[in-house]
């Protein structure tokens, strides 16, 4: 430190020139100066600071483009002929090279053709749009119901006693049984599936949120807030919800891919959708998996399903990390 000391005489200035009196300003002393802070801006600042997030997000953009825009552009219909070639035996189960030789190069044939002579590439993206929509709708409903009920469950001790017993019972009903009974009673349509996955699906989320709410509910700052007379609703929305944002985002990040996986699983055991979905494609390609030379047909939908779930999971996890205010420093 000693070297940095400056000799004032070097400036050749008088005392008045060097120093001036600053009057006490009572108004400005009331102001607390802090850097401008916007929560969501900080979330995205932290999120985009990581290079990996930009890469994963662009993969996600490509995936979404292919799932939602590509089938529209080529006007895909799983029942109509340019997309399936039932009559033509020689167009079935082709490897990519052979398919391109036969049909000429187009994006549709880069994954070869399937058991109906259809383009695997087109079928995968059409199936993905159904699977992703299913996962998004189910996650939205379950997250909304789960968070609201979980918050009430965590706050009220009376509700807690009742809901815990309900949880003990419903969590023990085999999930597959419930889904298949619902599918048998109604039909294996898209909205039946949504109903089956959401009818008890919110319970696990609500239980998780309840535990989190109980942990935060009795912290000192909430006790103080209650003493000052803050209404419960305000405590819930202003004191606790901001605390929970990162938890909720992280939870959503695991939920969405898990519904895609679940749909694949249900299709595999023969209880899935009637519509063409990723799970249905994987189930249909099961036999190709054990036939030498046809394995490619099976691995393509599996690989695409894995890419979609991994990308959604990573984006969600990192968004969850970024939405935790403690990382904004």
């Amino acid at each position: 430190m000693k070297e940095q000391l400056v000799n004032l005489d070097e400036f050749n200035m008088s005392e008045e020139e060097l120093f001036s009196q600053v009057n006490h300003d009572s108004l400005s002393s009331e102001k607390i100066t802090a850097p401008r802070y916007s929560y969501w801006r900080s979330v995205f600042r932290v999120f985009f600071k990581k290079k990996i997030n930009i890469i994963v997000l662009s993969i996600l953009a490509v995936v979404i483009l292919f799932t939602y825009v590509y089938p529209l552009v080529i006007a895909y219909d799983p029942e109509v002929t340019p997309y399936i070639n039932l009559m033509d035996g020689s167009s079935k189960h082709l490897k990519p090279g052979a398919a391109i030789d036969k049909f000429g190069f187009s994006l549709s044939w880069i994954f070869g053709s399937g058991d109906k002579g259809q383009s695997t590439f087109d079928a995968i993206w059409y199936g993905s749009s159904i699977s992703i929509s299913l996962a998004l709708i189910c996650a939205l409903i379950n997250m909304f119901v789960g968070v609201v009920i979980g918050a009430i469950w965590g706050f009220s001790k009376k509700v807690d006693i009742f809901m815990t017993e309900v949880y003990n019972i419903i969590a023990n009903i085999p999930y597959i049984l419930l889904i298949s009974v619902i599918v048998l009673i109604m039909s294996a349509s898209f909205w039946t599936m949504v109903f089956a996955l959401t009818v008890t699906g919110w319970l696990g989320i609500a239980y998780f949120i309840r535990t989190q709410v109980i942990i935060i509910r009795d912290r000192e700052y909430n006790l103080a807030s209650r003493c000052l007379g803050t209404p419960i609703l305000r405590i819930a929305t202003k004191n606790i919800l901001p605390f929970m944002t990162s938890v909720i985002v992280t939870l959503a990040a695991t939920e969405i891919p898990s519904y895609i996986s679940y749909e694949v699983f249900l299709s595999y055991i023969g209880m899935g959708l009637k519509d063409m979905s990723l799970g249905k494609l994987i189930e249909a390609a099961q036999n190709a998996m054990v036939t030498p030379g046809w394995e490619f047909e099976f691995w393509c939908p599996v690989a695409v399903a894995s890419i979609i779930t991994v990308v959604l999971y990573v984006v969600g996890q990192n968004l969850g990390d970024a939405s935790d205010p403690r990382t904004h420093m």
């Binding site: 017993e165 003990n168 019972i169 023990n172 049984l177 048998l184 699983f265 055991i269 990573v314």
Partner: protein, 523 residues
């Protein structure tokens, strides 16, 4: 503590009963009951009225409803002495149509109708289905009454029927010498080898208690567990037996039959149960070998039971998972943000996000490439076929354990007591092994009973992909075959295991960590 535990167990049992009630409501009341005949060949060969009557009989057998044919009502009257044999013979011959009945028949049909309708039954009279003065196939007339079994009755009968204690009044027919006999020399071993056994006469099982060479060496048939009778998966066999009976090919040995005949056979004489008139109506072989009606025996087989295979694969993978995941998870927490942590995170993300079906098939493909058997063969003695299913089950649970252990350890490392220990001069190694690991492992310990008991249940995808004859697919197969008895039985079994494993987890946790107590101490 005991009081608390009893309370917990009772509450758990109540929720298990509620689960069974909900499952029964789902499958008996909400699902279309015609679907149980989907795979029944007898049903598909029947026509007309006979088919309706068959449906009623089967629905009664599987607990949907109570079905009373007109003849049974008359038999009941006869047994009670309300009518004579002559009246019975007269009244039982009802006509093809109501108008063709004789006066006696009309009177008793009316009584039958009034008697059951006043009890809430539906009366049904199927007129004969004729084709030119001849009955069509199955076209005989039928008179019967039926009533749906209410949920409460069904639940009560199911729950009281779970445990069945064998007794000497089981056999309805007149037999001599009902009673139990204790012998020191089991006749199955020729009557010379010392092996105590209790043999019953009049009981369902002939051998109530016996010793043999198989684990656990002492066996009993006194108390049988019945979870529900199968309709299509394993016809007329109880779910519990389906899960616990051995599979595979027959094991032949020299068997001394009750009549003294010694022959090569796979029959397990200890499993003999009573079947009425089976000796009289039996084949030459049965008449030659047996001396009483205890002729129904199971066969000795070389494989394990469904539950056995699931458990062997499950328990090894659970052990493997804990052995691998605890050091790896600890290492990840220790080297946070270093290479090993990043690699571990990639692995965890892969397992968490990718559909389980995808990576199980991946393991199978990779495993088959390096020469491991990709499918399971009960008759093969090779232990290599266990490798891929075990790895497929272990890898996801390793990822799950690693994820949580790392999270808990990092949380512990940031806590105040660790900073205090560090400032007190403890070495990092000491802090880690004596404080952080001890605290972080407690929530992990809570899951151990769950994963051990869970391996009894089996794994659906793994067992399907590797063709393991385990218990995992029982529920899905039962659902696909509309086998209600099996569905209820398996649901009860699952619910019971999950309740027990949570209670055991809590006990284990409070044993490991003296700070955790489930009883509020008096202050």
């Amino acid at each position: 503590m005991t009081k608390y535990l009893i309370n917990r167990i009772l509450r758990g049992l109540l929720s298990v009963i509620a689960v069974v009630a909900i499952v029964m409501l789902l499958i008996y009341s909400l699902m279309n009951r015609d679907q149980i005949f989907a795979q029944d060949s007898v049903y598909s060969h029947m026509k007309s009225n006979a088919r309706e009557a068959y449906k009623m009989q089967q629905w009664e057998k599987y607990g949907y409803l109570d079905y009373v044919p007109y003849a049974d009502y008359l038999k009941m009257l006869l047994q009670n002495g309300d009518i004579t044999q002559d009246v019975y013979n007269e009244a039982v011959k009802f006509g093809d149509k109501a108008s063709e009945d004789s006066a006696v028949v009309a009177q008793y049909v009316k009584e039958f109708k009034d008697y059951y309708e006043s009890r809430g039954y539906e009366f049904e009279r199927k007129d004969a289905d004729m084709l030119k003065n001849k009955y069509k196939d199955g076209g005989k007339p039928y008179i019967y009454a039926y009533k749906d079994t209410p949920l409460i009755t069904r639940l009560w009968e199911y729950i009281t029927g779970i445990f069945r204690v064998d007794n000497i009044h089981y056999v309805k027919e007149d037999i001599e010498d009902r009673g139990l006999e204790f012998t020191l020399y089991d006749p199955v071993y020729g009557g010379e080898k010392f092996s105590p056994a209790i043999i019953g006469n009049g009981t369902q099982h002939k051998y109530l208690l016996y010793f043999d060479s198989q684990f656990p060496y002492i066996h009993q048939n006194l108390l049988t567990v019945r979870l529900g009778t199968s309709y299509s998966i394993n016809k007329d066999i109880d779910v519990f037996e389906t899960m616990t009976n051995t599979q595979g090919s027959y094991v032949y040995s020299t068997v001394t039959y009750p009549s003294g005949v010694v022959a090569e056979g796979a029959d397990n004489l200890h499993s003999a149960t009573y079947v009425p008139n089976s000796l009289e109506n039996g084949t030459v072989v049965i008449k030659d070998r047996f001396v009483d009606n205890y002729t129904s025996v199971t066969a000795n087989k070389n494989g394990l039971s469904k539950m056995g295979y699931s458990f062997v694969i499950g328990i090894i993978s659970v052990l493997l998972a804990y052995i691998v995941a605890i050091p790896l998870g600890t290492l990840m927490a220790l080297k946070k943000d270093k290479l090993i942590d990043k690699l571990g995170t990639i692995y965890i993300v892969f397992i968490m996000a990718v559909p389980s079906l995808a990576y199980i098939f991946l393991f199978k493909a990779v495993g088959s490439k390096i020469g491991l058997p990709g499918t399971f063969d009960v008759d093969s003695s090779s232990k290599l076929m266990y490798v891929l299913p075990i790895i497929s089950l272990a890898l996801p649970s390793i990822a799950n354990l690693m994820k949580w252990l790392r999270r808990y350890m990092i949380d512990q490392m940031n806590s105040d007591y660790v900073k205090f220990a560090r400032s007190g001069g403890l070495s990092e190694g000491e802090i880690f092994s004596k404080h952080v690991l001890k605290n972080a492992i407690i929530p992990i310990i809570h899951g151990i009973p769950g994963s051990v008991l869970g391996s009894l249940v089996g794994a659906i995808i793994t067992e399907r992909v590797y063709v393991v004859p385990g218990a995992g697919n029982l529920l899905t197969n039962a659902i696909n075959a509309y086998d209600n008895g099996v569905i209820v039985g398996v649901a009860l079994f699952y619910a019971l295991l999950s309740v027990v494993s949570i209670i055991l987890g809590d006990i284990l946790m409070s044993l490991m960590d003296p700070r955790i107590s489930f009883v509020s101490k008096e202050r």
